[in-house]
C-alpha cells in the first residue's frame, strides 16, 4: 500500500495542509507549524505520561476522595469504599456506575495504552486493525473519566450545611484528576500510525 511517507508527504498537525517533506523545511508553509511525519518521540513521551498516571493512580485510590463532616462525625471515603458502601446498601446500579467510571475505566485505559506501547515497541504485526480500534476506544472514553471529579465538585459546592453536613474534596481527588489528565495526554502522544508502520515494513520485506 502506498503511504505518504513513501511519497515524502506529511500532513500539518494543525491546519491539515499536505506538505512535501524536505530535509530542511519542517514547517508548514501555510501556518508555520512544525511538521512531522510521525509524532516525535511518541513512544517515550507516551510511556512517561503513562507511568506518571500509574503512579498517581495509587494515591487516587488509597486516599479519600471526599470527606464528609456530618453531625460532628468526620468520614473520609475512598472511591472503593464508596462503591462497597452502595453495594452493601443495595444500590448496586449506582455502585456499578461508580465502579465502571472510576475504577474500571482508568485501569483499563492504562492497561490498554501499555499494551499498545509494548506491542509497537516489539514491532508486533498481530491484528493491527483491532489495535487501532483499541486506541480509538482509549481516546473516546478518556473524556468521560472526569465524571467523578464533576460529581465531587458539585457535591462539595452543594453540601455546605454547616453543622449538619459539610463536604470537602479529599486528598485523593487531585490525584484522581491527574490520572485522568495524564492518561488523556499519554493517549494523545501515542501515534497510532506506528501500529501500521511495522505492518508496512513487514509487507515491504515480504514483497522484496
Amino acid at each position: 500500500m502506498p503511504t505518504a511517507r513513501d511519497a515524502g508527504l506529511a500532513v500539518c498537525h494543525d491546519c491539515g495542509q499536505l506538505v512535501r517533506l524536505s530535509a530542511e523545511h519542517h514547517h508548514c508553509p501555510r501556518c508555520h507549524a512544525t511538521v512531522h511525519l510521525r509524532t516525535p518521540n511518541s513512544i517515550a513521551r507516551s510511556w512517561a505520561l503513562l507511568i506518571a498516571a500509574a503512579i498517581c493512580y495509587i494515591p487516587a485510590n488509597v486516599l479519600p476522595v471526599t470527606v464528609v463532616d456530618a453531625l460532628g462525625k468526620v468520614q473520609g471515603d475512598t472511591i472503593m469504599s464508596g462503591v462497597l458502601y452502595f453495594l452493601h446498601h443495595g444500590d448496586w446500579p449506582l455502585a456499578l456506575v461508580i465502579f465502571t467510571a472510576s475504577i474500571a475505566v482508568p485501569m483499563s485505559k492504562i492497561a490498554m495504552l501499555m499494551y499498545l506501547l509494548v506491542s509497537v515497541q516489539r514491532r508486533s504485526v498481530w491484528r493491527p486493525a483491532d489495535r487501532t480500534r483499541v486506541y480509538r476506544i482509549v481516546e473516546l472514553i478518556g473524556r468521560w473519566s472526569m465524571l467523578d471529579m464533576f460529581v465531587v465538585t458539585i457535591l462539595v459546592a452543594l453540601v455546605q450545611l454547616g453543622f449538619f453536613a459539610t463536604m470537602r474534596a479529599g486528598a485523593g481527588a487531585p490525584y484522581f484528576g491527574s490520572v485522568v489528565v495524564l492518561t488523556m495526554l499519554a493517549a494523545q502522544q501515542f501515534d497510532p500510525r506506528l501500529i501500521w508502520d511495522t505492518v508496512e515494513a513487514q509487507d515491504d520485506r515480504q514483497e522484496s
Binding site: N41, A44, R45, A48, L49, I51, A52, A53, I55, C56, I58, P59, L63, V68, A70, L71, G72, K73, Q75, H89, I154, L155, L158, V159, L161, F164, A165, M167, S178, L182, Q189
Partner: protein
Amino acid sequence: MTDKKAEPQLPSGGYPAAAVSAKRGFSVVWLVPIVAALVALWLVYKNISETGPTVQIKFETGEGLVAGKTKIRFRDVEIGVVTNVDLEKEKDGDFMVVAHAELHPSTKDYLTENTRFWAVRAHISAGQVAALGTLFSGAYIAMDGNAEGKKTKDFVALKKPPVIDPRFPGKHYKLSVDRLGGLNPGSPVYYRQIEVGMITDYVLQDDGTILLDVFIETPHHERIFDNTLFWNAGGIDLKIDASGVSLDTESLISVLMGGVAFDIPPRASAGAPAKEGAVFPLFRNRSQANAIQYTIKKKYLLFFDQSLRGLQVGAPLDFRGLDIGEVVSIGLDADFNRDQIRMPVMVEIEPERFRIVGSPDQEDLLDKLIDQGLRAQLTIANLALGKKAVTLDFFPNAEPPPVVAAGRYPEIPTIRSPGAELIGNLAQISADLKTVPYVQIGQEMKTALEQVGTTMAEARALLATANTDIAPRLAASLAEAESTLAATRAMVATNSVTRTELNRLLIELSDAAEAIAAVAEYLEQHPEALIFGKEKTQ
C-alpha cells in the same frame, strides 16, 4: 548521552558533509513521571512519619466502640481512632474488650502508666445530662494524659468517667455523715448558693458512717476553715415546728439530686484554713448546722403535772420570746419511790446565748432565780398545729417550790399554764364546794361566788381574745399551710402538670434527637438526597 559520532568521510573534491547524528536526547517529558514518583514517595514518607503509636485499651464492655469510627480525644481534641475491637480472655477466665487504637505521633510522650482512658457515652440522670453530643457522633474514648511515669502501651479503661475534670485545680476534703441522704458523686457543693465544687466519691466506713469526698474548686477552697460548717442542702427542707412552716432549699438541682452547702457560722471565728483532706461533720440541714455553734449545753429537768400533748423533742425553750434552748427528751417515769407517774421533760439551755454582765457566780444562780420566781410553763406556740413550747418566766407570786432531792440534773420548778391553771382552780372550787358545810354556805358561798365571778370574767376575756385575735390568725395560718402543701403536692404528684410537662418535654426531646439521627443516617446513606430530595420508598 550516547552520541555516536560517525567517522567523517572525505568525499573526493569537496567539503565534508555535516555529520548526521542520531541524537537520543533526554526528553523533558520524563520529568512528569519523576515528579509523580517523588510526590508518591513523599506521600509514603508522610504517611509513615504521621503514624503514631498504637495502644491497647481494655474495657469491661464494648458498648459504642466501633472499629474505624470511635475516636480518641484528649481535651476534646481528636488524637486517634480505634482501629480494631477484640475480645481477649483474661487470666481469670473473664473476657475483656480490647480496643486497639492508633494515636497521633504527638501523644507518645503521654503514654505512661498514669494516663487514664475511659469511654464517654451519652448519660442522662436526674441531675446530669452528659455527653449529649455522643448521641449523634457515637461514643468516644477520652484520654487524660500524664507525661510522668513509666511508658506503657497497654491500658485498662476506667469503669466510669472521673467526676472531676483533671484540668480544674482545687482541693479535696472529707465529710463524715451517718446516712447518705440522697447525695451522689456529682452532687453539687454550694457556698451561698454558688456552685463551687462537687461530691466525687463516698466510702462506707467500718464503723457504719459514710465518708464523702468533696472537691472544692480553686479559689473557693480558701473558704474552708477549721470552723466551716457543712450541711446537706439536698431536697426540700420543709419544717413544720413550733415557729411555723419554713422551707429551705439551695437550688432546683440540689432539690432533685441532693447537694452540700457550707458556710462559716455567723459571729464565730473562722479558724485556721483547713488542710486538704480534713474531715468535717456533715449536718442534716442548715438549722442543725447553725445550732451546733453553741457547744456548751446545760441540761435541766422539768416535771409538769399536766398533759404534754403537743410538746415535741426539739420544741423551743423560750425566755420571754427569745429562744435559749430546746427540749431534748420527754420521758415517762413510773416512780415507785414516790408512787407517782412523772413525765420528766429535759431541756437544754445554751448559756452561750447569754451575754455575761458582771462576774458570774454560777453555783447558786439558778436557786436565786427560782427564789425570784423563775418557773417553767407549757405554752401554746402554734395554735394551728397545736405545737407547744416551754417558756421560762418569772412569776414573783408563785408558790415556793417543793424541796426536791438534787438529782443528776438541776430541776426548774414548773407552773401550770394559764388554761390548765384555770381548770385546776375550777376543780378545786367544786371540790371545796362539796366539802363546805351547808351551815356556812351563806358566808362562804358568797366568797366562792366572788371568786367564780372574777374567774369567769378572766375566762370571758380570754375567750374574747381568742375570738378576735387568735381565730383569724388561725384561719390565715391554716389557709397558708394548706396552699403550701397543695402547691408542694401538685408539684410532686405523679400526674401534676409540671411532671407531665417535664415528661412530655423529655419525650419530645428524645423524638427530636431520633429524628435528627434518622436524618443524619439517611443523609449519610443518600447524600444525593440533599440535591434530589428524598426518594420514594421502595
